[in-house]
Structures are given as C-alpha cells and as structure tokens.
C-alpha cells in the first residue's frame, strides 16, 4: 500500500522545497541544488553518519543533526550554511586533518580528494595542531590495491561496499579509536571480481590502484563518457585519458545497468584495449604485396571490389563492433547481396554483484552481441566454418582473425578486411581498411538486455583510421545507395529508419541511461 500524497514541505537555506516522505535532508538539499559536504555518505551505500561532516542546523533541534540520516519533516527549517553549520563543518575537517598527512603532492587522490576540497572550502590555512601525527603505515589489501592507513579517514565506505554490495564482508575496521585502520581479518590479501570499487568509493587517497599509482595527476586526465567493452553488461564508464592513452576506467552512474559499480575485469579490458601494433592507413593489394594508400584510392578499390564480386557476400564480424559500423557493413554487403554474417562470443566465468544483482560480469565477454544479432548477424561457434564453402566476397569487420587457418581466405574473392590489427590471415586480404577502437570513435552498443547505449570518442585514432560508418557511408553515397553520414548519430538515425528492431530510436531518445531497443523487447517477450 503506497501512501498517497506522501510529500513533505520544508525550507533549506531559505528555499522552500517539497520532497517525498522518507527522504533525508541531504537528499532533499540535492534537489534544491545544495550540496551538503559529506565523506561517509555514499548514495550507493548505507549511511552510518560517522564522519560528522554533513551536520546541519535544524531550527528547534538542540544540536546539529547529520543530514545523511535525518529524515525530512513537515515544516522543517534547515540551515546548511549558517554560522553553526559552518562551525560544525570546520570542526570535522580540522579533526580529520589532525592525523591526516599533508602529502597531497605525492598522493594519487590530489585533485579529486573530497578532504582536499573541503579543507580549501572551509579555508583553514593554518593548523592549530602542533602534535606529532600518528603513523600507521601502509599495506596491500588486494594484489592490486594499496592501502595508505595514514590517509584513511575511516569513513568505512570500503567496508560497507564489501559488506552490502559485494556481500563478502572481508574488510573491517581493525583496532579502535585513533588507532583504527582498515584491513582483512586474516593476514591474507583478498580477491574479489569487483574489488576495485573500494578505490572508487574512497573519498581520499587511502585506497589506490597500484597500476596507476604515482602515474597520472587527476587534473591531467581527460574524462570521457564511454561504455565498457568487457562483456555484454554494458557498464557505463568514465574513461580517463592522458596524452592519447587510457590510464583508467571508473564506473559512471547508471541505475539501470551498473549503478555506481563495475567489475575489475572491465577496467583491465578498457585500459588494455587497442594495444599492440595498430593499422594506421588503408592497404591495397598489388600482386602479392599490400601497399599503403589514401582513403580515396581505398574507397575506389572497395567500389571496384563490389562491382566485380561474383555472387553474394558473407561476413565475419566482431560482436565488439558498434551498431553503426555493423549497420553500414550490412548496407555495403547488400549491394551485392547479403548472404549472412557470423560472429563469435568469447566466454568467461560469470560473476554477479550480489548487492546489485542487475550487474554481472557476464559470461559473454563481448559488448555488442545483441546488437549484431538484431542487425541480422548470427552467432557461430565456428566462424571459419561459416565461410568454408563460400567463394564470393568476404568481409571481415574488426575480428583480428588471429586463430584463422592458413588457407582461410584462399578461395574467397574479394577479401575485404576492416579492423585494427594485421594478423597473418589479414595479410592475405585484398583490401585492408583501418578502423578505430571503441575508445577512438563514437557509437552505440546494445547490451545483453537490448539496451542501446552511447559511447563517446576519448582518443585520437592512429594514423588515418576511420570508422566504417563514416567511410562506408561515403562510398554508399557515391554508389547512389544511401547518404554520406557525417556523425555517428546520423548513422544511427539511418539504422533506426531501416531496422524495425531499432525503430524510433535516436541519439536524442537514448538519453543518458540508454534505452531498450523495441526489437529486443519483442524478442524478450517471445522468449518469456
């Protein structure tokens, strides 16, 4: 039985606001665009109200109240910036700094540290503390995460993440009082597929990923909204880049997909994606050699290949390719007849995040299998077998063919490869078109449940590598078979116009959290 008219009216810093009953003062304030400083509070975790940073003055209350747990009441008058509230906040920051080392110049969290921010905000330039600071040392808590106990402010966000979200309560406050620190109960390091979230939730530089330790300064990183390509979950990530390199991946909030979390595997995939010797320019076959060329010659070669191809075209595609590229490839193939395309799905062990079961590191370790399926490609256990008897045109999109048999392409003609790496099998192609990795272009993936989500270009692609939706559509326009799209959004609009599975969708309708493709809904309904 939901309560009707369950709204509470209150005043925060003079602004009248209405919020649902049961909201906390802190949540209510955020609706009025008032951010109450906090450390222990995290929107994805329970609120223990221990940091005492979010204390606010409530008229009529005998003492300041922790806004992260105090529920709103009708007619409440809250002051978040009164002299009393400010004094409480100053006190909390001063106390936190009593034993906190001021090692910001060598701290990885500098620039993204909430303690640093509020220390500046409360304007305490000089300390009143002349006593020696406690030294508690540092130790690893997982094979990849270092814990700097001196910096720790014991907000217990990491403890609560492992307890409430991972549901594996391996972290605990050890000792008590000013001697307290975070550790496991055993001498062992712990391992958990989602362990790196404890680094994300740490408001200071106490928990640090060793792989980025002492590498980037937070302010040197560019942040780009992206989608993790590590599995079919489609976690929303923020990619941190510096000097055209991905240095880290952090989860980006999406309540429908990954909340505030992502798995460790995904982070490693994002960081290592696109490594190795990359294709930078188109290559065309001249006799038994592949020679570099510019895009106009490459597209001429592609046009010639299409017009000379005998019979229909088949394709091997990567299910990590974007919806837009898969769509344009299909359009190109349709010029001579689409005889099917196959993709493979690498698999790994699935891991569920128990406290947020929507999120799993899924067994399907590829981002866009569902999208490829909705665009008419089929999953195959044996992608090489799928083209064994095929003698016409063969397109390969982004699958590196590293395990292809030696005679793989002997009887196929022409063999057109669009991708990023030059494996032995790719060297037998008639035409090689360099394409960017997911981080080097814009596009969409369709996750396991059919949710179409956008990712944004974070890096410069190598050389003149260009996405197929751009180059392919240019050729299609030349052939009078479509329009040349200039943006991924336009390519997606074309796609949704042609495929009923995506009918009515556009980059505008996808919004921040993505949207379920109509085709995925109906096929899900058919399954159930």
């Amino acid at each position: 039985m939901a309560e009707q008219s369950a709204t509470v009216n209150l005043t925060i810093d003079g602004a009248p606001i209405s919020v649902p009953k049961g909201a906390t003062i802190l949540e209510a304030a955020e609706r009025a665009a008032i951010v109450i400083p906090r450390y222990c509070y995290h929107p994805g975790l329970s609120a223990p109200a221990v940091c005492r940073m979010c204390l606010v003055e409530v008229e009529g209350a005998p003492k300041p109240l922790p806004s992260c747990v105090q529920q709103v009441q009708e007619g409440m008058v809250v002051h978040t910036d009164s002299a009393d509230a400010r004094k409480s906040r100053r006190a909390a920051v001063e106390f936190l700094l009593v034993n906190h080392p001021l090692d910001c110049p060598i701290c990885d969290a500098a620039g993204q540290c909430e303690l640093q921010d509020y220390a500046f905000e409360t304007g305490q330039l000089r300390t009143r503390n002349v006593e020696a600071k406690a030294v508690l040392g540092r130790d690893k808590v997982t094979p990849e995460i270092m814990y700097f106990a001196d910096r720790c402010i014991l907000c217990t966000r990491c403890v609560r993440f492992m307890d409430e979200i991972a549901e594996e309560p391996v972290l605990q406050v050890i000792q008590r009082g000013h001697k307290g620190y975070i550790d496991t109960m055993t001498d062992d390091l712990f391992e958990h597929p989602f362990s790196m979230n404890i680094v994300d939730v740490c408001p200071v530089g106490a928990l640090v990923n060793e792989d980025v330790l002492f590498k980037p300064r937070a302010w040197d990183l560019d942040q780009t909204a992206s989608i993790c390509p590590g599995c079919s979950q489609g976690c929303n990530v923020s990619v941190g880049t510096k000097e055209n390199q991905i240095l880290r991946a952090k989860p980006r909030f999406n309540p429908e997909v990954n909340s505030y979390w992502m798995c460790d595997h995904g982070r490693r995939v994002v960081i290592s994606w696109g490594a190795g010797d990359r294709l930078e320019v188109p290559l065309v076959r001249e006799g038994d050699r592949l020679v570099p060329c510019d895009w106009s010659r490459a597209l001429d070669a592609l046009a010639a290949a299409l017009s000379s191809a005998a019979g229909e075209a088949r394709a091997i595609v990567s299910a990590g390719a974007s919806n837009e590229s898969l769509f344009i490839l299909r359009k190109l193939m349709e010029q001579i007849g689409f005889a099917g395309g196959h993709f493979r799905v690498p698999r790994g062990a699935a891991h569920e995040l128990k406290g947020f079961p929507k999120l799993q590191l899924r067994a399907e370790r590829v981002a866009n299998a569902r999208g490829a399926e909705l665009l008419g490609y089929s999953q195959s256990e044996d992608i090489y077998g799928s083209v064994r008897d095929h003698t016409g045109a063969l397109f390969v999109l982004e699958d590196p063919l590293e395990d292809a048999p030696a005679d793989f392409a002997d009887r196929r003609s022409p063999f057109i490869y669009i991708g990023s790496h030059l494996s032995p099998a790719v060297r037998t192609a008639d035409l090689v078109l360099p394409s960017p990795s997911f981080a080097e272009m814009e596009g969409t993936f369709t996750n396991f449940e059919g949710r179409v989500q956008r990712f944004v270009q974070a890096l410069r692609p190598p050389g003149v590598a260009r996405p197929l939706w751009l180059t392919g559509s240019a050729l299609l326009a030349r052939l009078g078979a479509g329009v040349a799209v200039r943006t991924a959004g336009a390519a997606f609009a074309e796609l949704s116009g042609e495929f009923a599975e995506f009918a009515g969708m556009s980059y505008q309708t996808l919004g921040v959290h993505g949207a379920i493709a109509p085709g995925a809904k109906s096929s899900a309904a058919a399954v159930s």
Partner: protein
C-alpha cells in the same frame, strides 16, 4: 568474610547481604526471602508491574537516570516479534564498581530482577551482558543461573505460571563503549561495539533487530524490592524526583573506600567525610567526581548538596553512575585529567570523526602541558576542541571526554597555568 566498610548510616536495601557468603547460593537466598518478588510478580498482570515501577519513580542507575517504568512502557505489548531484555552489566565507567558487588554477593537478586522485568516487558529471553574482566563474578553468576533453572525460576512454565524465560550470560571483550546501550546491543550481536544512531531506539529495534529494553544491574536489582513492597515503601527514601536508595562506589583518596548504599537525599559531603572517612590523615580534599569520570569535577565547596539526580546537577555536576572519585591535595589535576582523557582516547570506538580525533588530540596536548611544554594558547585550544566534540557525535563518549577537560579548566585553571608558565606542579607531595 564481612563486607569491608559497612556503615551504620547506610540504608542497605540492595546491599543488605553484601559480605554474607551464604546469600550467594540459591538456598541461602531463599532463606533470606529471595524469589518472593518473582512469585508475587508472576501472579500480577505485567502492566501492573510496569505501573508500580513507574509509581516508585525508579530511575536508571547506569548513569542517564531515565525512568525505568517509562522505558518499559515503550515496549510493544502484542507485537509479532520477540521482545528482549538486555541487562547492562558491562560496568565500564571509571570509578564505578557497584554492579560487580551486586552480582558477586547477590547474584539471585539480579536474576530475580531480570525475571520480573522480562515478564513485565513480555520478553521470553533475557541477556546479561557482563564485562569479560569480571572473571570471578561470571563464575558466580553462571552458577546462579544454573541453580535458578534447576529450581524452575528460569526455563519453561516458571512456577506453574505459564511464563517462559531463558537467560543467557554474554561476556564482553573489554571495551568501555560496550556499556553504551546500543554499543552493547551491537556487541551482543557479535559486531563491533559501535553505538547506533537513535532513532530507532532499542524499544523499536534493539538486539537482533527486535524490541529490547536495556537496564543497568542496579536498576534491575531494585525491581524485586519494589514489586514486593510497593511504590510507597520505595518512596520513603530519596526525593520526589529521585526516590529510593543508591549504591555509591567510593574510591580514590579516602580513609574507607568501598560501596555505600544511601537514600538519594543523603548529603554528598557527609557521604565523603562521614561514611568514607574523608581523605587520608594530613591531607585536604581537593576535588571530587561524584558520578564516574564522565561527569564534571567538583571542588570542595560545591559538595554540600544531596546526592539526588537534581541535587548534584544543581551543584554543578551529575549523579551519573554513582562512581565517586575523591582526589586529595597530592593530586595533580592536569595529570588526573590527562589520564582520564587517555582513557577516552583509548576507548573511543573511532567511528565518529570528532571523538576519534578529538580525544587523542586532547590527550596529546595535555601530555605536552604536563611535560612542561604547554603554551598559553593551549587553554583556549583545549576548550575549543572540547566544544567541537560535545554534542556532535552519535553517542556521548565524545562529550564525556570533554567534560573533565572543561570542568577542570573552569575550576583548576591555576594548576594548568602553573604547568604552562612555571613548569611547576601544584600537587602537594
């Protein structure tokens, strides 16, 4: 063995059989009129018991002085969840050792109190959370519980009344904060003894998430007497707001330290100088802490008051747990306060910033002053840190640590200044 310092001016209700080894066992206890209160209670409706305890005006003896009957009345009466009673026998307040004596000499007095109180609040399981350091007391209490089960005072269908009650003794592991009622509940559940945010109060969500009443040993031990003799009988002692008798654990620089039970309108100065004999010969009383280390320090000229909750409060301190600490003129107040603050720094659970950092910061400053490296600005700094600690945390430990600092600076600032400016201690050696 007779109890060390019984005094004719005492009013011995709870402590009547202190020192009588025969009263420890259940036979000796029954011979002395034991379990009559249980018999009477089990034939009385639970709400009538709550009412008589309310009428008697029994206030919580753990330190806060909250009316016991009122606390019981918050418990759900027909809930679909089990109610629990948790007896707070952690007795961790420095200077307090009355519960220990109640349990050591009269364990059945406490068990009786637990049975009656559990019956009144409709609990079928009671816990006695006792501090683990009380090794001998635990042994005695365990024996008493076994006896009570054997005689049918605990277990199924107690005395044929149809009422069932189990009683579990749970040992703490040595933390002051486990004496805070919600910290106690967390510890009882096997968690760290970190106090919980209130609300919800224990009567709504206590042990294992169930409605729970937490009462101090001395409070529960008084219940059988009240049930047996009535509210008016209990009100013959004490004041309107503080009826009854109370045990005072008197320690420190006294001729006859020990537990003394007096009515709550007894004069504090007489308690110290008459019952306890005052300071040792040739010494002057310098300061007094009447209710455990968490209450403000009093000077000699402040202690001519009665020992009621309101009497001591009017005199500038608090009754607290009744842990009376006397300090004579050989005491260095700075040192004494530093030891107290050290204690709080050691015992702070550490969850709240202000307490975790504030207690250790205060301790470091006091240590520095004691070493002769104090600065004039340390006094306002100590006061400001204390102000930033008080009223800003989940539980009152933070306030408790600030109390001795603030009250000692108010009343003994000259001692601090002697250390700071002259590197000199005012204690008379």
């Amino acid at each position: 063995m007779a109890y060390p310092h019984a005094h004719p001016r005492e009013t011995r209700v709870l402590s009547k059989y202190f020192g009588e080894t025969d009263a420890i066992g259940i036979d000796g206890w029954i011979e002395r009129g034991g379990y009559k209160g249980v018999e009477k209670a089990l034939s009385t409706p639970p709400d009538d018991i709550i009412q008589v305890v309310k009428d008697a005006g029994l206030r919580g003896r753990g330190g806060a002085g909250f009316p016991a009957g009122l606390k019981w009345s918050f418990m759900p009466k027909n809930g679909d969840r089990p109610n629990y009673l948790a007896c707070n026998a952690d007795e961790s307040e420095p200077g307090t050792f009355k519960d220990r004596e109640i349990m050591r000499w009269t364990p059945h007095q406490l068990i009786e109190g637990c049975i009656i109180s559990s019956y009144a609040i409709r609990a079928q399981h009671a816990y006695i959370y006792i501090r683990g350091e009380f090794v001998d007391v635990v042994r005695i209490l365990n024996g008493a519980v076994v006896e009570a089960y054997e005689r049918g005072y605990l277990g199924k269908n107690i005395l044929g009344s149809g009422y069932d009650l189990d009683l579990t003794i749970h040992l703490g592991a040595g933390a002051y904060i486990a004496g805070e009622e919600t910290g106690l509940l967390n510890s009882l559940e096997g968690r760290r003894a970190e106090p919980r945010i209130k609300p919800p109060f224990p009567a709504q969500r206590g042990a294992f998430g169930m409605p729970t009443t937490v009462n101090n040993v001395e409070t529960l031990a008084a219940v059988p007497h009240i049930v047996l003799n009535g509210a008016a009988w209990y009100r013959q002692w004490g004041t309107e707001k503080s009826p009854g008798t109370k045990l005072f654990s008197c320690c420190g620089h006294l001729q006859r330290p020990g537990n003394y039970e007096v009515p709550l309108d007894f004069n504090l100065k007489e308690l110290v100088f008459d019952l306890c004999g005052g300071p040792p010969d040739g010494r002057e009383l310098l300061a007094l802490i009447p209710g455990g280390s968490s209450v403000p320090i009093m000077t000699l000229d402040e202690i001519d008051c009665d020992v009621s909750y309101e009497g001591i409060e009017a005199a500038g301190s608090l009754l607290g747990s009744g842990g009376l600490i006397a300090m004579d003129d050989s005491t260095c107040i700075v040192h004494a306060v530093r030891k107290m603050v050290d204690f709080y720094a050691h015992e702070s659970c550490g969850q709240c910033t202000n307490c975790r950092e504030g207690t250790s910061w205060l301790a470091k400053i006091l240590k520095r002053i004691e070493r002769g490296q104090g600065r004039d600005e340390d006094i306002p700094l100590l006061l400001d840190i204390s102000a930033n600690m008080a009223g800003k945390t989940i539980c009152p430990l933070s306030d408790s640590a600030a109390v001795p600092v603030v009250s000692s600076i108010q009343k003994f600032e000259h001692e601090y200044m002697a250390h700071i400016r002259e590197n000199r201690c005012t204690a008379v050696r």
